[in-house]
């Protein structure tokens, strides 16, 4: 199987979220970056498992500047065979999807995996856009995937339940919790990642149909009202009369 995994990089989950330049750009001062959890824990690991079961290759692709090579090296250390970095500042899901689709168009991948969403911009768009650009079937929120001969049985999370779907031929999926278990790179992986191919390519480029122009952080909550634990009637009254939520 020839597998492609789209890898993004996001601020660490405990990073301080602040903006600069009058709220027009994310302030990355002092922020540590990680591989987006959905890409690392689920999409990449499931791709590696498939390769181990069926043979083949796992390529990872990332759109971003050279500073992000550490993230691609980590993906190689976890087990990917080779990496591609599209040299650009990703400005929207659309621009990223375009580059991934341009790379994948004639490369003959059997499966393209993305994460469910990035934990910074929460777009949940790239996978769907790649599928749209390549006219491939798309299955989102995949929490399980098993091969059954020529067809693949995919379990997809839907509101309050799951849907089981059969698909054959190449498709695009977005990975959700449950699809695989996080793998920690071992020493051998880290050493071999240093010599695995990491190819840097120029972007094909697109216009930007949408962009984030202003950011703000929510105002601090007003002080919490503490309620006597032995007086739940008061809590209920406040929820009804003051908060008006029951």
């Amino acid at each position: 199987m020839k597998l492609l995994v789209a890898i993004s990089q996001t601020p660490e989950t405990t990073a301080r979220i602040a903006f600069k330049d009058g709220g027009t750009a994310f302030d990355s001062t002092g922020v540590n970056y990680i591989m987006n959890p959905y890409d690392e824990w689920y999409a990449l690991v499931r791709a590696l498992e498939l390769k181990e079961e069926k043979g083949g290759t796992v390529t990872v692709i990332h759109c971003g500047p050279a500073t992000n090579d550490v993230t691609l090296r980590k993906a190689l250390a976890i087990g990917a065979d080779d990496a591609i970095r599209v040299e650009m500042e990703p400005a929207s899901a659309y621009s990223v999807a375009h580059e991934i689709a341009a790379h994948a168009a004639d490369a003959g991948y059997d499966l393209i995996l993305t994460g469910k969403e990035t934990i910074d911009f929460n777009g949940a768009l790239v996978g769907s856009m790649v599928a749209g650009l390549l006219d491939l079937p798309f299955i989102s929120h995949v929490s399980k995937m098993v091969m059954q001969g020529d067809t693949v049985l995919v379990t997809r999370d839907i509101e309050g339940g799951v849907e089981e779907i059969e698909v054959s031929g190449p498709f695009v999926l977005s990975a959700a919790k449950g699809l695989a278990e996080q793998r920690i790179p071992n020493m051998r992986g880290i050493m071999s990642a240093k010599t695995k191919p990491l190819q840097v390519v120029s972007p094909v480029g697109t216009d930007l149909p949408d962009r984030h122009i202003r950011f703000s952080v929510p105002p601090a909550k007003s002080a919490v009202k503490m309620i006597d634990p032995s007086d739940m009637d008061t809590l209920v009254r406040l929820l009804h009369e003051e908060a008006k939520v029951i």
Partner: protein, 321 residues
């Protein structure tokens, strides 16, 4: 005009579709245009969408739309949007809506905004809409200049009110490409409002000590008509199903009322829930970080407080009926 994909489930219009139509009709009124709802597949109660502001309800009913295929649904929605010259296409921010959003944007060469949570503003010819970013830790304004925008609407953005009249559903014919995926089974916990749509959520964490104690949480949820949720370690250790996991790496929710029981309030948990309108925290540790994000706090033992709260709510419900 504004086109809303009115999602259905088991042949009935989903609550999120009424919300989307209500939102679409508000935008249409602001922009001096009309709002059309589109049903894909069968729906018995499509005419109700008129009550929430759709001036027209269209339906493409075709055997290939009886089960969801993201690509087929996207293509049909995009082709109707093109025929109708829609300038704004609204989808629900559900699993299906999100999965279609990017494809519809590509097909229409439109800007895409996931999880709009406010009404759009037209500024210098472009459309600007607010949305949550960084898993709810921040807000952003996203701007679309392409003339056509495709958005998914975050749940509970506006409270839909039935102000209009029933309309007659009009069937439309359009090319329906054959699905390339086949739904073979759907398993749903019945009778429960799904988390992203729930107005009240009762959520519990490791403070519960043991999965056998969840009866407390379920009883409270039952009197409130609430949906239950949990913190990540609770789902990870198999105490509760994964689909209940809320937070930065789980489901992001914004109910009117979020009650957190025995949850410490780690930043990754708060990320997914702090857009809730009102937050109640029950925790025995008065220093628990969650209290800083709460509107109402109860510093006490959940095994005493939660049954007391359930009883107080029962008394309240009886007095108000």
């Amino acid at each position: 005009m504004i086109l809303v994909f009115a999602e259905t489930q088991e042949g009935k219009v989903k609550k999120s579709a009424f919300e989307a139509v209500y939102y679409g009709a508000k935008v249409a009124a602001d922009q001096g245009t009309t709002c059309t709802a589109l049903l894909l597949g069968q729906a018995a109660d499509g005419g109700h969408l008129g009550r929430y502001g759709a001036s027209e309800v269209l339906q493409v009913d075709h055997p290939s739309l009886s089960a969801f295929d993201s690509s087929t649904f996207s293509k049909v929605l995009a082709s109707v949007a093109q025929d109708k010259k829609a300038t704004l296409v609204i989808l629900p921010d559900s699993a299906n809506g999100k999965s279609m959003l990017g494809q519809v944007a590509i097909l229409l060469k439109a800007g895409a905004i996931r999880g709009a949570n406010a009404l759009p503003e037209i500024k210098e010819g472009g459309m600007e809409i607010g949305r949550a970013v960084f898993s709810g830790k921040a807000f952003a304004i996203c701007r679309v200049d392409t003339g056509v925008a495709v958005i998914s609407l975050a749940g509970n953005t506006l409270k839909p009110v039935a102000e209009g009249n029933e309309v007659v559903v009009k069937k439309v014919e359009t090319v329906v490409p054959s699905p390339r995926t086949r739904v073979v089974n759907v398993r749903r916990t019945t009778g429960i409002v799904p988390l992203p749509e729930a107005e009240i959520v009762v959520s519990a964490g490791r403070g519960m000590k043991d999965p056998s104690n969840w009866g407390l949480v379920e009883e409270l949820a039952e009197v409130l008509g609430a949906t239950t949720a949990c913190s990540r370690p609770v789902a990870d250790s198999g105490w509760r199903p994964h689909h209940e996991h809320v937070g930065q790496t789980g489901i992001a929710i914004r109910p009117n009322l979020y009650i957190a029981i025995g949850i410490s309030g780690a930043i990754q948990h708060l990320a997914g829930v702090n857009s809730s309108k009102v937050i109640v925290v029950i925790n025995k540790d008065p220093e628990a970080p969650f209290f800083k994000a709460a509107d109402y706090g109860v510093a006490g033992d959940l095994f005493e407080v939660v049954p007391q709260l359930t009883l107080a709510l029962k008394r309240f419900k009886e007095a108000h009926h």
